[in-house]
Symmetry: C2
Subunit: 134 residues, 2 copies
């Protein structure tokens, strides 16, 4: 697996407008991209910071993955995303290594990129997303 970058670090929030307003007031940064992704049940905003990004995730309802995360853990860091060269090769390598995957097949994520999640059991309890940038 060739990692190109930490594509983004994601934060789950209850109110996307409020979180973006806090971020702008505190750090002077604004989102480049904002998108509702129905299939994932989220509205997301991507904020470039140097060579990486901060992603904000707001659930579209309580019965969504991020909605359930907020119910059980509250607001806070949600996952970290590694940008890979070839997401199929990365998933094949992880599966051969016995790593538990959330998504065995890549799917469409925000920005039209191809993404897949790795189970947090695999590494330090951290939810990891793989991203192949289109």
């Amino acid at each position: 697996v060739l990692l190109l970058n930490i594509h983004h670090t994601a934060v789950a929030v209850r109110d996307l407008d409020e979180a973006l307003s806090d971020l702008a007031a505190q750090y002077g940064v604004v989102p480049q991209h904002r998108e509702v992704i129905i299939e994932q049940g989220v509205e997301e905003a991507m904020v470039a910071i140097g060579g990486s990004n901060l992603q904000l995730l707001m659930p579209l309802g309580d019965d969504t993955p991020v909605g359930r995360f907020l119910s059980s853990r509250g607001e806070g860091l949600h996952h970290v995303a590694f940008q890979v060269v070839d997401i199929e090769a990365a998933l094949a390598h992880l599966e051969e290594s016995g790593v538990q995957l959330v998504d065995r097949v890549a799917r469409r994520g925000g920005g039209g990129h191809r993404i897949a999640f790795v189970h947090p059991k695999a590494f330090g309890g951290a939810l990891i997303e793989l991203v192949e940038v289109s």
Copy 2:
């Protein structure tokens, strides 16, 4: 506040050797830097990934900030660190904006950098560290 980069995203782990071994097997990345920081009660490893870093934190004991985090939340994402140009200016701006700080004065962190933590209440429940690289 001028943000230069996401300096690192940190993961709290129980066993640093095991986490580094998982990371190497799964993603082929190894730490550039490993350090015991007595004052913070942690052993940390820094793994460069593209233009940012993944930081692994292992507590030196249960009665440390990261030890208490593991007891209450378990392993997982711990904080995200923003690299700033001038940490005093950043802390002054945040304090003037009414933001709750964990550290009102910068202190020495890993790699000899100057760091300070911002309370997770300030933005989306996420613990944010400011880093001025030396």
